[in-house]
């Protein structure tokens, strides 16, 4: 800046002093002097994000996490993590004068006496379901397209760990109101901890602070739910995204796409607009669900009391597969030498989930060993081109879905007027059969799809003509737009853009097919 002694300057002079990019250019300059941001910053603004719908699944997880943080802060201002018995005096008449846990009373208070509280509570629960669900679907996308292959095994591992934490975080959060259903869930959790050989009773007694229901579980679960797990998730999300930026996105094969480049739209402004918009859409969808779809109406369940229970007790859906495994497991308790190993609990509720997550964690290494493929991969697979992996993954998910369905044996028996014995045995067989059948069918489907010409393309009509002399001939109808998948050839992001004046090639030019540097007809604004 020059001296101001010369008196006031005209706006024109001020503008000239700031250079061609004005105030923004000046700020960039000052920041760059101190932090050296300009070079990396420009690269960051140009960063290319591949455009494919399946790439937004992880974004749903990220944005529902933000919704969870925002709504969670609101709830934490009113929730009281205490099992102390109090007399309920609130605006929900049916509970009036009843002895309830303080945490339950505070959750009912959030639902009925805090303005907007019911909405935020339901948004929080829905966002938690969206969070876990989108992580699972995102993980399935990563798995079936082979995005976990070298060099991205570490990021895949981080993702699975976040899924495990998300499931526990959901279970703990679901338990916090201390209503009758979640209290039963806690009781089952306690018994599962108890079932572990050697250390089980110590583990349960230490975690809950004594025999069930203990007196420290709610404050402990509360601090884990609102601080410890979110903090770990926050750090892991940071690592997940850092690795993503460092290793860049994978992409599907296509026009101009190779193992050594990325094709898509630039960070600023295109991707930033789309992804910020998506954040708002995820938040909006959570709010709409919270407004119109009732979830976990704890005031109908009542406060937890250890000797009470309700019919059709089921955990939240992401725990359902372990509950199904517990149901179909035969009653094999092993006793010897004065000790008991409750295999009927330990196998389905500890060993089996442990196996599921360990196989998921080890898959990249297993596949690398089985295929001997140690190369770097940036182009994604089509699931049909890797029939064995696709079949294995489909069987894995089929097993979990069957067990999930098995967690409703009693409801199904009731609904379809079957005997409980029948539904139980049906699920025992289905748990073995369904994954095998799904694996076989998936494998065959993949092989068949590989052989079909033009799969994924729209069928074209065959037009049959009859000539005057009675001869028949056929011809294929002309292709309509979208019949054939076509892609434009990608170009680098231009270094400088003509911004002044805003040129819009006239409609006439466009119609004439005026050529442009990208080789395609285009409109500029």
């Amino acid at each position: 800046m020059s001296s101001t002694l010369g008196g006031s300057k005209t706006a024109r002079e001020m503008k000239d002093e700031r250079g061609p990019y004005g105030r923004v250019g000046q700020v960039v300059g000052e920041l760059d002097d101190r932090l050296g941001v300009a070079k990396g910053g420009r690269v960051f603004l140009d960063k290319i994000f591949p455009d494919h719908w399946s790439f937004m699944l992880g974004e749903i997880s990220l944005y529902s996490f933000i919704v969870l943080i925002a709504t969670g802060i609101f709830l934490a201002l009113y929730y009281v993590p205490s099992a102390t018995q109090v007399i309920y005096h609130g605006s929900y008449a049916p509970l009036h004068g009843q002895r309830v846990a303080e945490s339950y009373a505070s959750t009912v208070r959030i639902s009925f006496d805090v303005r907007g509280g019911l909405l935020v509570r339901q948004m929080h629960h829905w966002a938690a379901d969206i969070f876990t669900g989108s992580i699972i679907v995102h993980m399935a996308r990563i798995f079936f397209t082979g995005a976990f292959r070298k060099p991205r095994e570490l990021n895949y591992t981080i993702g699975i760990i976040m899924l495990i934490i998300a499931i526990f975080e959901g279970y703990i959060g679901y338990s916090l109101p201390d209503d009758l259903i979640s209290g039963t869930g806690l009781r089952i959790g306690y018994s599962i901890a108890e079932s572990i050989p050697f250390v089980g009773s110590y583990l349960a007694s230490f975690m809950w602070g004594g025999t069930f229901p203990g007196n420290s579980v709610l404050p402990r679960f509360y601090i884990i739910h609102v601080l410890i797990f979110p903090l770990i998730l926050f750090a892991l999300i940071g690592a997940h995204l850092t690795l993503l930026v460092r290793q860049k996105h994978t992409q599907f094969p296509g026009e101009g796409r190779t193992e050594t480049n990325v094709v898509g739209s630039p960070m600023f402004p295109t991707f930033m607009a789309k992804t910020t918009g998506f954040l708002f859409m995820v938040a909006g969808a959570s709010a709409l669900l919270g407004a119109f779809a009732q979830i976990n109406p704890i005031w109908q369940f009542g406060s937890y009391e250890p000797y009470k229970i309700s019919y059709a007790v089921q955990p939240d859906w992401y725990m359902g597969w372990t509950d199904g495994a517990l149901r179909i497991m035969p009653a094999w308790e092993f006793t010897a030498w004065g000790h008991t190993i409750p295999l009927e609990v330990f196998l389905p509720a500890v060993i089996f989930p442990g196996l599921v997550f360990n196989i998921a964690l080890m898959w990249p290494a297993l596949e690398r060993r089985m295929t001997g493929d140690n190369a770097l991969h940036n182009l994604l697979d089509r699931p049909r081109d890797r029939p064995k992996r696709t079949a294995a993954g489909a069987a894995f998910f089929a097993l979990l879905f069957t067990l999930f369905a098995a967690s409703s044996t009693d409801v199904l028996a009731n609904y379809f007027h079957l005997s409980l014995n029948f539904t139980l045995w049906a699920f025992r067989f289905l748990t073995v059969l369904v994954p095998i059948v799904v694996a076989f069918v998936t494998y065959r489907l993949c092989i068949e799809m590989q052989g079909v010409q033009g799969v994924g393309k729209r069928k074209r009509a065959n037009i049959v003509h009859r000539s005057a002399s009675g001869e028949y001939s056929t011809e294929t109808s002309a292709p309509r737009p979208d019949d054939e998948h076509s892609e434009l050839h990608p170009t680098p992001v231009p270094d400088r853009i003509d911004i002044e004046p805003l040129v819009s090639t006239s409609a006439a030019d466009a119609a004439n097919g005026a050529s442009s540097p990208t080789g395609a007809r285009q409109v500029t604004r």
Binding site: S205, P266, G277, P330, P490, R496, S516, V523, T524
Partner: protein, 316 residues
């Protein structure tokens, strides 16, 4: 990315927004003003909605209006912004080269050399110091486990084996009312606790016992339990031997206690032996008697641990 990738080319080029050849964006490219108008309309509706959200909060309207306006407002703001990004911002496709993550062979060797040489030359020469440091941190690690874990809760000891039922404990309901010999009719059922422990959650959890009047004459559920069910009153621990849920359902016709959690079923007439489901053991039976006033009391406590299995549970 190397410097060469961003050599400033001072030539200004028009940035393509959308190309007419693109099958998905052709319409927007031909008529961007129309796309802009539609997005503007979406934003206007969104503004109305978020303002409505404010009004709904201020007026304390019901949660449907509160959430509906908020959700619609946020969703439309997001939808408009995404549409703006998709139809009116440069789509390319643009391409960027990947930089190679791996370093050169020299750089790799150099790092490995530093690790190997320095540890063998500098660290291993002072083996004793290293050993002492490892010993110190190891001891701390082991010691630290105790305050971290041990203080969390009491050592279980025999707490899983014991309930508050004793010889002579009077059976009471959750309000403390004792059970007289006429309290239940045949087929009747109630939950009982030992008197004095009926309103403590921790005690309720371990002591909860289900009392059923199966018939109006003495019942023998098993040999050796001839006097345990006077006048057909039989009592079992209400804690399921599978996962500890209260065995809260009673199928009166079949005389089966059913656990709603995982559908274990116990026959009350033959000692609550599991008939179905994953429960591995019968529900422990509480021996009953009538005291001088005609009220039900326990002859003794349970003869085994109640509830689910655990490592220290004895087999006898």
């Amino acid at each position: 990315m190397s410097d060469a990738d961003h050599q400033p080319s001072r030539t200004k080029v028009p940035m393509p927004i959308a190309t007419l050849d693109d099958p998905h964006l052709g319409d927007a490219a031909r008529n961007p003003e129309r796309a802009e108008g539609i997005i503007a309309l979406i934003f206007v509706v969104a503004i109305v909605m978020v303002a409505g959200f404010g009004a709904a909060y201020w007026q304390n309207w019901n949660p449907w209006i509160l959430g509906g306006t908020m959700g619609a407002g946020l969703f439309l703001l997001g939808f408009g912004l995404t549409a703006w990004g998709k139809y009116l911002m440069p789509q390319g496709p643009f391409v960027e080269e990947r930089h190679v993550l791996a370093s050169t062979d020299e750089e790799r060797d150099s790092m490995a050399a530093a690790l190997v040489e320095r540890s063998s030359v500098v660290v291993k020469r002072r083996k004793m110091l290293g050993g002492l440091f490892a010993l110190g941190s190891g001891i701390f690690g082991i010691v630290a486990v105790f305050p971290l874990l041990r203080s969390l809760g009491p050592v279980p000891g025999t707490s899983f084996d014991r309930t508050d039922w004793r010889k002579g404990s009077i059976l009471v309901d959750s309000n403390g009312r004792a059970v007289h010999k006429d309290t239940l009719v045949t087929g009747g059922i109630m939950t009982v606790f030992p008197r004095g422990f009926q309103s403590n959650e921790q005690a309720q959890s371990m002591d909860q016992t289900v009392l059923i009047r199966v018939q109006d004459t003495d019942l023998v559920t098993e040999s050796g339990r001839e006097t345990w069910a006077p006048l057909g009153y039989v009592a079992y621990s209400k804690m399921c031997t599978h996962l500890g849920c209260p065995v809260g359902l009673y199928e009166q016709e079949l005389e089966l206690l059913v656990c709603p959690c995982h559908q274990s079923m116990f026959n009350v007439r033959n000692g609550a032996v599991p008939q179905f489901g994953p429960a591995p053991r019968p529900l422990p039976q509480l021996p009953l008697m009538f005291n001088a006033d005609g009220y039900l009391a326990a002859q003794a406590g349970f003869d085994q641990a109640v509830g689910p299995g655990f490592w220290e549970r004895t087999t006898t």
